[in-house]
Amino acid sequence: MSETELDARNLLCPLPVIRTQDRVAQLAAGEVLSVHCTDPGARVDIPTWCRINGHEVLGIEQQGRELIIRIQVGTD
């Protein structure tokens, strides 16, 4: 299955969460979204948003200042 990328770099909390939320709403259950961000707060906030909304964080990778969070869209 293809993976969608979301560029949320240089955005500050809560904008990376909002952009993630809006993009996930366009995806089907099981699809994977890879969010690229630079706000360190996203490491906490995006996984929290995923937990309360039923999506799964597949992994978080730090590449220099950039954080890449991979999310699998849940069924609800």
Binding site: P14, D39, P40
Partner: protein
């Protein structure tokens, strides 16, 4: 009867957390809604400043939602919110805070959301007498009326001091199990938090919006005055939160990073602004907002040099980048402290 559904305005503070829990306790399905205006204190500054990065960070609205086991919808209202900031029908508070208009706006957006998502009513953590502008006995009905929520707006923490709402009349919630809090005392909230077992919550009441901050309001007023119009974009309001702002001339100001985190943040704006930094010494990145001729740039360079490690040196070599043309170096004597006029510093 099918389970009733309520949407709760969640700020991340204690009151809205308690209000949502009070209604959850009555078997109502509650989901949270949180609005991002661009002026929210939550998150931003501690994401920028390096010294704050070591502290644990969280978005309190998300955290509250997780504690309560409910979904949270964060809505970007930056564009629509401009009319609230620029033309508040009920005026401003002590600074540029349009608290009553803000509350009306947010409840009206919650009404729209509730209608679109088939929710039955709206709840807030408002308490009569808690806030001097937006939470007075005279203003609570204004919020219900002007937002269009009317009697579908329930304030669980002070409902028993207010006329019955439709959720109470229809038996969707039991009025007797709602509360009668009033006034500025936080004791009833703390007692209720204890009853619910909430021990960790964000410091309640106030401080969630930059528009209530006197220094921020000065910088926003300055921006409007310099531009000759009361307008703003999201980048403007973000940049007002960062750095040292110095306006040596009416037609330009400098935004000078105060530490590494701010310098990194300002780096993201280099392509949009004339910018300066010291070449011969360590020093901050500075953005120049406005227009500047050669004389202005020389003055700007001297000011920024003042904040570099070469401040006491006879001269500092500065790089000036006009973005559209290749950068060039300029050797300047740093401004002495007394040369930076008090009125320049915003």
């Amino acid at each position: 009867m099918s389970q009733r559904k309520a949407v709760a305005l969640v700020s991340g503070g204690l009151d809205s957390m308690l209000a949502a829990r009070v209604i959850q306790e009555q078997g109502v399905h509650v989901e949270g809604i949180n609005f991002f205006t661009g002026f929210c204190v939550e998150g931003h500054t501690h994401a920028i400043r390096k010294k704050d990065r070591a502290k644990p960070k969280r978005n309190n609205a998300l955290w509250v939602a997780e504690q309560l086991g409910m979904k949270l919808h964060i809505i970007d209202v930056i564009e629509e919110y401009k009319s609230v900031v620029l033309n508040p029908k009920h005026g401003y508070g002590a600074n540029l805070n349009p608290c009553l208009d803000c509350k009306v706006f947010m409840v009206s957006k919650a009404v729209e959301w509730a209608q679109a998502n088939d929710f039955d009513f709206i709840i807030t953590g408002e308490v009569i007498g808690q806030r001097p502008m937006s939470q007075r006995k005279q203003t609570l009905p204004i919020v219900a009326q002007e937002s269009g929520a009317e009697d579908l707006l329930l304030r669980p923490l002070c409902a028993r001091n207010l006329p019955e709402t439709r959720p109470e009349r229809e038996g969707w919630v039991d009025r007797e199990r709602l509360h009668d809090f009033s006034g500025r005392s936080r004791k009833p909230q703390f007692a209720l938090a204890k009853r619910f077992g909430f021990t960790d919550y964000a410091q309640p009441a106030g401080g969630c919006c930059f528009l209530t901050d006197a220094q921020y309001a000065v910088k926003l007023s300055d921006l409007w005055q310099a531009r000759g119009s009361r307008q703003y974009e999201i980048d403007d309001i973000m940049l007002l939160k960062v750095g040292r702002h110095i306006r040596p001339r009416p037609h330009f100001k400098l935004i000078i990073g105060r530490e590494e985190g701010e310098n990194q943040f300002l780096e993201g704006y280099r392509k949009q602004f004339i910018h300066l930094r010291a070449l011969s010494h360590k020093g901050p990145l500075a953005l120049l907002d406005g227009v500047a001729n050669d004389e202005d740039l020389a003055l700007a360079a001297r000011i920024v040099a003042r904040y570099s490690q070469g401040r006491d040196a006879p001269s500092v070599t500065m790089e000036i980048n006009r973005v559209a043309t290749p950068p060039y170096a300029l050797e300047v004597p740093p401004c002495r402290s007394e040369e930076i006029e008090q009125g320049w510093v915003l």
